[in-house]
Symmetry: D2
Subunit: 308 residues, 4 copies
């Protein structure tokens, strides 16, 4: 890396400047629709302790599907390899909330980063716990990882998700019919809609993901969050499945494991180098942050962090 | 028809004798699983007032999906041609509770005789009424059509259906996500599971369907239940869609409009001739009464009632 | 039937007058695209020897998929029930040249009236014969049925079909990969494209189909073409599968077994009454003759010939 | 990497020893079916000039789909970004020769590493050249990359592929119907079946792929084969799409871009480190070399070359 990290971030910001405000903000719930499309933030935390932040890096946004990385981490820790009997790890050719594949494969979702798979992951976390306890433990994990006790979910977003949540209720009932959701659907969705409604800043999110860049352990606290093998495997799933039906495109252009959310956030991991969070609410036609994706493509080119 | 109706029925009974008890009784709920597989009943009511009954023609059974013919009749009367904006009338290549086609066609079920379509039909009946009022009106219609005030649903079956009803809950939420189910899913299923749990005998069922054989009017009471055009169209839908993914096979072998249920009942209509109900709990590999189908094939051959 | 047949035909013609010229003429080959969209013909032959013709009833048109009824008849006569091991008899939810269902069902087409099924039927006819002999025997059958030795195929249409025939070549190779096409693909398509290119008038076509309305035998010559049971079964397949993904709609509106072709022709059978051919080149959005369908709906209403 | 490369290779060989001979050898053509299932070879070439070989590393095998990496390289060089208008770069949830997705996406294959996509890639190479010239240029490229003028295709395998090639003929005609194959199907398949029939040893194959590990240039000759950006992108496509419907699984377990063939070979790229070829004819249930996959998983763990 020939330049200082903050210089690189500044160059990334310049490069995407003209695109900020483009893309289409998610509007299926009012709380997301009203977000200012001109927001853009980026945060980088490196394994050796450097940080760089720019733009709206400290503004809270709805992490939505980015939460799936953290619940996947918790479920893998809870039940280990048994997780992969209930959810696959193959990319899906279908749209992100498609139910077709699910029927074809008898209620086993293709991977834990599509909605159906994440609902199963949440059901795994729920087993033996109440819904309140489960969402509390997810938030507690994020607070610990981000070293920030203020992290919380947005009750208005959670309420809206519940009101418009027929598609996810359908998925959950569908898998329950196959025996692959074991809890009550209302309980599973109680947790699921709240985990999606968690709000974080880019700074918090990049910090929270750092263990995935550092072989499973937190380089600041020294805590082993997951084993090195597990961290690599979570990164592998992010690479092949992290961007719905545009995962191949993200790998092609950015070359880093990443997970996007409809709130406009993306967490990307540069193994052995850094954890990166970007946020910009306007989405491209496949539902990933338009400016966030461009910023990561530029960052990858400038740093040489592409894994390929 | 060269013979007396009761002679024909006797011959049909002889012809299927060796098959009685074969087939697989539906076992997804206990109340259905415990039915004696050796039951077989048949009832015929002709447009000119003749009747013939044989075997267990007076024993009550769970009519299940046969109820879809009657709720279709009621919904068509309630909202007329507007019904066909919410449900199609094309046969489906997929299995009876498939959700694939539904996604492809944006929440509009292929026809009113698959589960998804029947749920929309029930939702139509529910509009402007409470769930209790709706199931009451369905039962009232059947009592009037069968001229028998004892018709009721089986609360044990309704409860079991509810407990194992995740697939139907999934379908209902799925269509509600597209705006094609308008009521609360719990209300729609309250009615739907009760209509499926209605118990009738072959004698009651054949009598209840007679208006479809007689151009829409009841030949006994003279009441016009539906117009002649509507009766013909309901028969057309039964012909092309009445037996899930074996509708073509039923048309090929029997040549009459018909609707089967997993309880082992089939209502068949011989336009201008008769209404026929058969019942035998063992199902063939596509989910229709094995002996009932054979009996109708023989009856059709002996009477020449095939529409082709 | 309260009126004279010619009066009814005149009324049908008046009723559809304003629609003539609407619809979209098939344009995938030049020879079809250049047909005058304002053509409309209708011919009826009754089982008791009456005939009625109107409009362009004597003009030749490309029968296209209507030919599938006649090759089905020949293949059923050639190998009997064994035919149904190579082709199903269920309607298909997919578009008429879809390959999806075919993959799902291991190369066994859903029914003999979609392209894939008709290609298998042609392959059956080809077994033990050369391509030239096979197309000759199909044409000979039609000449005998229509009592008209001038029937022939249009070489220009056959050539165009071949040139644009990649989709059908794909289907044939696909099924050959499963072992369900046994001849060379080039030979099978040689016959298939010629049978589709056969030209007939409404008068010839109605006469040719008369055996299907008269229990399998030709009422004029007394010849038994197929058994009564086989005639009924062919009619059943026409009813459930004869109009691609609009078969349910045709049954709903017309109530007669029928088979359409993209040339704008439709053969409809009123069992025990008559054989009817209509022709008008403009197609509706599902690929069936727009005016032809309307004319049959009116005819069915005026005559009461609907089987329902 | 704590050990010498040859020690690591020896350890890999020990670790997979007990699995050698398991798996199911491809048997759709005789020439593949007769290969000894107990063969196992591995070759590694590092960017800094080290090599390690073990087992049957010098025995020739049919590279089959591994050839898709090299034709992709050539097509990308020939027409640049225009290639991505004719083929996608997303993983597919369907089986490797599925035609379903292709219909859904109007003849544009999901990616260049499934059969349909590779056929389009071959069609790109064919444009402006004859079939003989095209296969010659593919072989010339491989000879140059492997620094070995003996590389050739096996005419017996090519002939067998042609004879059993109905599925690929079907795919090619299907895409030609959409205009996405422009050459004659016979010409495209002439080249395609020969490229699949190319035989190479592990040693040749690892050497041939070295440019992908070394940012696009050959570290031995200094030749820039493709740009660094293009090399990375080809690696990204290998990672997300290289193992049919087990690409996610390969990423999860091995963590390297790779491409398998039904002949039992796999080419894997460790960016900035090495090019690796393994070969063992027994396939696992998803069609990739069983022992080859295990060997790469062990190698990745021992070397730390996983990109994650």
């Amino acid at each position: 890396m020939p330049q200082d990290l903050s210089d690189i971030v500044a160059e990334v910001c310049r490069d995407v400047q003209n695109e900020i405000g483009t893309g289409r903000v998610a509007d299926y719930i009012p709380a997301l629709a009203k977000v200012d499309p001109r927001k853009f933030g980026i945060s980088i935390v490196t394994c050796d302790g450097k940080t760089a932040n720019a733009g709206d890096a400290d503004e809270l946004f709805s992490i939505q599907s980015v939460s799936k990385i953290f619940t996947l981490t918790l479920a893998a820790e809870k039940i280990g390899a048994a997780l992969w009997e209930r959810v696959g790890r193959e990319p899906t050719g279908s749209a992100f909330n498609s139910i077709v594949q699910l029927e074809h494969e008898s209620g086993i979702p293709r991977n834990p980063l599509i909605n159906a798979g994440a609902i199963v992951v949440t059901d795994v976390l729920l087993e033996g716990n109440g819904p309140q306890q489960t969402i509390d433990s997810i938030i507690a994990f994020l607070r610990r990882r981000a070293d920030d006790d203020t992290i919380q979910f947005d009750p208005e977003v959670a309420r809206s998700e519940t009101e418009t949540g027929d598609r996810n209720a359908s998925l959950a009932h569908f898998m329950r019919g196959f025996g692959n959701v074991k809890g009550q659907v209302a309980d599973v969705l109680h947790v699921y809609f709240r985990q999606c409604a968690i709000t974080m800043s880019c700074r918090q999110l990049a910090r929270a993901g750092l263990y995935l860049a550092h072989a499973g352990s937190d380089p600041v606290t020294g805590e082993e969050v997951v084993s090195e093998a597990r961290a690599r495997r979570i990164n592998a799933v992010m690479m092949t499945c992290g961007h719905y039906d545009a995962s191949g495109d993200f790998a092609f252009h950015v070359g880093l494991p990443g997970k996007s959310g409809v709130g406009g956030g993306i967490l990307a991991i540069a193994p052995r180098h850094a954890s990166i969070a970007v946020w910009s609410p306007g989405l491209n036609e496949v539902g990933n942050s338009l400016v966030g994706s461009l910023a990561l493509e530029r960052l990858s080119a400038l740093t040489g962090w592409s894994v390929f």
